[in-house]
Symmetry: C2
Subunit: 188 residues, 2 copies
Amino acid sequence: MPTNARDRLITTAETLFYREGIQAVGISELIAAAGIGRASFYRHFESKEALLHAVLRCRNEKTLTVFGAALASCGSDPLRVFDVVAERYGADDFRGCAFINAMVEAADRHGETHRIAREHKLAQIRLLSDRLHESGYRQPDRLAGHFQLLIDGAVVGVLREGNTRPVEMARDIASHLLVSWRPTHSNR
Amino acid sequence: MPTNARDRLITTAETLFYREGIQAVGISELIAAAGIGRASFYRHFESKEALLHAVLRCRNEKTLTVFGAALASCGSDPLRVFDVVAERYGADDFRGCAFINAMVEAADRHGETHRIAREHKLAQIRLLSDRLHESGYRQPDRLAGHFQLLIDGAVVGVLREGNTRPVEMARDIASHLLVSWRPTHSNR
DNA sequence: AAATAATAGAACCGATCGGTACCATTTGAG
DNA sequence: CTCAAATGGTACCGATCGGTTCTATTATTT
């Protein structure tokens, strides 16, 4: 747990928002869990919504880093992305994608929350695309978009079904795509 | 607008819950929009949550009917499902899938809301499977599950991107699947 | 027409909401 | 050591939350 008050708020909020839902977490509950005075909270964030945006931006950086590292460890087989995903989605406290959830709870489709969620996925697609390009697949952007759609579908499926079989499904589908976009020649 | 008080509440709630989010709609706002007395509300539903479940069950039946009819109109080309989907998702007031949204807002993964959402998608997969089976595709259950995953991914994508291109993506992916599971012989 | 049921609306309940103001304590820099 | 900044805690603000109770009115039924 960070000693810094601001970071402690972000860390605590990240956990609570994800577990309970954003609207469901009150300021009182939040600052109590973080051990922060009420005034200190509003000294660091002008509102609950501002805190949410900070949380999302923080999570954006973190998950992109992790995702990038995972991609790098996939070697020449992009399908292994789904193994990484499956492990994350199999956690007991899995409650879907924090960005999708935030988007759903923030009704305004043109608000900052949606913008952050959109940016996040675009960046993730970029990572995927780079990886696919390096592995020699044709139209990596297009293929990366398809992968992202499969991941999104898997997230929703896992949340709904309560098991990680949707991830296996997504992997199966992706394998079909890969044989169609098979590399003309391996780059490594 | 139905004259019956109960139906009027369900219809109004369906609109407001979808547009504003479930938690964001208060009882006062709801009954005012429906033109219903406060006491009458609690005479028909024991709680806000009970109303939500009624709304979801109602929407379940309606959308299944529509979806079934759309499937029937697809002829021998299952890909046309995605045209139907694209039209629905292109609406100005599109805010994702009501069942997914309800699932996200209801943090409890084992609650009634999740159960209803799960049942709904299972029923939808069943319709898809029947259709694919009639068209002579092998492993229709499996293929239907894949279609559902693609639809879920498209829903999320459209909500995030603000356009219906994810549906076209899903359609592209589905076309790849279909050639792999091509019917051994046409049934019609 | 009389009796019964259902209605809309308002008053009210305790609890909680997001946010502000103030205070006593702790912390860190000069 | 001193002083100023930042902190955690508490009380408080108006507003709204989900839900209960009551009343006066409207429909329905007989």
